[in-house]
Symmetry: C2
Subunit: 121 residues, 2 copies
DNA sequence: TGAACACATGAGCAGATATTCATATGAAAG
DNA sequence: CTTTCATATGAATATCTGCTCATGTGTTCA
């Protein structure tokens, strides 16, 4: 019975089984939700969000970003790696210098909505 | 001099000082960026994003959410506390039962854009 | 070919965080 | 008043994560 299952999960009885099953059907796929959370997790870091906002205005080399954010080159490089693996930034090589730029313009819309959200309150 | 400062920050010379200063002026305020990152960090968790999507469809009590997400009551309660402190959910009491619901409809727009982002690749 | 420079990367560490367990709070019912 | 039930909360733990340090890679230039 579902009652047993509920007890196994939490100490209390389910009050609204209909609500639970209705909401369960309306929920997005688990895989999509997980990737969505992963995406927001990438953006939910002070260093990475600053890098993205910087690259929105101009492509930059690693050293430039390090100076801009007042952090050392290694830290920036590590975070650029994360952003690159998430498909948010790309790079082009020019001699010794590597220029990074945004790889997904749409992401800035989401970031902007984040700014709006924290601004009007 | 700025050259000294740059050496203190990273081992390399700044290649594009103009780019750096131009981007610096275009960057959003530090406080706003930090709160924005904090907001995305809240949303960037599998459990919390599932709770928010669930509450989008219906208000629910803690026990219902625990059953829906197959997690124990304590874990859900802890996360609801985080969401409440961030102003994303509110609650109303009805006897022993506490019903949680969304406190910021606009947030769902951002969450939906996250779903879109991870869906079309 | 070897020095210099921009960047990448692995290991290690310190701080943050999500969950669990045990227990407290607070309301309703008997 | 005591018990029961839904929820909250503190402590402890295990995992994750971002930074630093040292070093490796790849390119340019002398």
């Amino acid at each position: 019975m579902s009652a047993e299952k509920n007890i196994a999960v939490c100490d209390c009885t389910v009050i609204h089984e209909e609500t639970v099953s209705k909401v369960r059907e309306s929920m997005p796929e688990e895989g999509v939700l997980e990737r969505s959370a992963d995406f927001f997790k990438i953006v939910g870091d002070r260093t990475r969000i600053r890098i993205l906002h910087a690259l929105f205005h101009s492509e930059m080399c690693v050293c430039d970003i390090a100076v801009l954010l007042d952090m050392n080159q290694s830290a920036i490089s590590h975070q650029l790696r994360v952003l690159k693996q998430s498909g948010l930034v790309k790079y082009r090589r020019e001699g010794k210098i590597v220029f990074y730029s945004l790889d997904d313009e749409h992401v800035m819309n989401i970031l902007d909505q984040g700014l709006v959200h924290v601004s009007h309150n």
